[in-house]
Amino acid sequence: MKMSKGQRVVLAGILIAISFILKRTALDLWVANVFMISAAVVAGLPIMKNAISAARYRIIGIDALVSLAVIGAMFLAEYWEAAAVTFLFMFGDYLESKTIEKTRSSIKSLLDLAPDTARVIRDGVEVEVSPDEVIKGDMVIVKPGEKISIDGTIVEGNAYINQAAITGESIPVSREEDDTVFSGTIIESGYLKIRADRVGEDTTFARILQMVEEAQDKKAKTQKFLEVFSRYYTPAIIVLAALLFLVTKDLVLSLTLLVIACPGALVISTPVSIVAGIGNGAKHGVLIKGGEIMENLGKIDVLAFDKTGTLTEGKPKVTNVKAFEMDEDELLQIAAIGESYSEHPLARAIIAASEEKFGELNEAPEESEIITGQGLKVKVRGKTYLIGNRKLMAENGVTVTGEEETYIESEEEHGQTVVIVSSLEKMLGSISIADTVREDAKQLIKNLKAQGIKKVVMLTGDNKRAAAAISKELGIDEYYAELLPEGKVKALETLQEKFGATAMVGDGVNDAPALASADLGIAIGGAGTDVAMETADVVLMSDEIKRLSYAIGLSRATVKNMKQNIYFAIIVAGALLAGVLAKVVFLSSGMLIHEISVLLVIINAVRLLGYGEKGRTRKVLYD
């Protein structure tokens, strides 16, 4: 007879109820017992079947223990006990599978965001295909309300896109020609023609999914310990039950011990919390790669930030132009023309500033010579100029007056990098360039300190004055400047020795070694940079850096939740054991308490799904 778990539970319940009614009406005790026995059989058969097949592989699980207990109860003519134990076991299992699905619901909802169709142009005609059939280079058409099925570059159109699937942020962002878009994101309004750059399993979204899927089963240390513990606990209780029977000849007592021998709530305590925590993170664009990382993230003492691209936007901009001899606009223009062949980020910034003001550059330098580490010597509009740093001026014998030097130093103290423009004789002026500090960086550092992080440190390859200026602006405790990538690794070692567990936060562009060598590597703006997503332990998908304090809060809440579960499970297991030995807990009540404790542990974990949604936690996240 094939019946589902649910059907068996219902049928067993009905049989038990009928049996009770019969007993009450005292018609016939024998008939009542028959109903009770059938209930035990209906609910107990699948348990026993599982126990037997497991026994074939020499494995004793909880179903073996329950089966033994039921057989024992039947033997003692305790039909009610036998029926109750099997019914409660099945019913508990049924409820557990329903609630446990809830703890995994965040991750599941992420899976549901996967695109299911794609509209591509084939032979000039629009056709609908499965996303797996899209080939790199295909033109994909996406309309409002539809999901983008590939990672690609927009070739035509513009749109507002909800990128929640990737970044956790559901406020739509505007994207136009030449911008990149991600698979799994949804067009709210607009129309896009996109060239597919990455398809199928290679898309950012597919990789996030895969990482989340793997993360949820990377066990926490606590979990590994509890599994080892339960491996010994169960056989130990069986031995105890056998000994007890030999000494006291009390079969009921020994059978009851068997029923409570499986520390269900204890073993389940950690994985349910971890999966709920990781799911919550994934929903908010924070990827935490496993249980152990979840445990460690909450215990971090020091956070070391990379500067460029992490605390700052990584896009240097001209902030100030100063001319001593000529018009400021002219100086900027000359510098831009002089730099027009250069790929240096500072040169790009100068060109961008000039183009923004005067339109596209259509002049080129008549002569141009790059002096590595110093700058350029160029001929523009018939005159020769030097564009670069102090060293360039010194090497070429250009005089920089005291007044000019004071100006340069004061700019540097404000976190600016200064590019000097001069003729062959004297300084003509300078251009100050700075990277914009991220809007939310200051708030983040304030939040981190409020959360009890001992030290917030900045590591940078930039000059000391600029590092000092930014540290002061953001409220950073310490900075290490003028570092090469290896220098960052060294600085981390010093921090670990001095203050304890240190996490490195970077954008993964040139700090991958540091991310890997820290106790914990945290990458920001992960959507887009592959190295960062692979090497880091925690990935903030968007470049909203303040989510870091949410991530730390979440990991602490998860660990706390886990601990509550463990303590509760231990107390229940201890109380049950005491109760059985004191003969106040019997087969059915033992099973009832056991099942309820498992359910409570799961329900406690489900609470974690709400973290960051309301109240105080929301403040940390969105202030």
Binding site: I59, G61, I100, E213, D217, I268
Partner: protein
């Protein structure tokens, strides 16, 4: 040697994982195995000349866990 991942019906008690692992451990031809509790999956690396994917599914099913799919 191939690796397959089987999607199972929701795993509820973590002791189930021990049961499946114990059974796979005693199956000839199975080289590596891992039961992923939270994602309710079992990943098995096995020698297909010794044991077939179907046999492995049968073993898991006989322990009381429905196999919903393989990948």
């Amino acid at each position: 040697m191939i690796t397959k991942t089987y999607q199972l019906d929701t795993l509820t008690c973590p002791s189930c994982t021990m049961k499946i692992e114990g059974a796979l451990k005693r199956t000839k031809g199975v080289k590596e195995y891992e039961v992923l509790y939270n994602s309710s999956r079992t990943r098995v690396t096995f020698d297909e000349t010794v044991v077939e994917s179907e046999d492995i599914q049968n073993i898991i099913e006989r322990l009381g866990f429905k196999v919903l799919g393989e990948k």
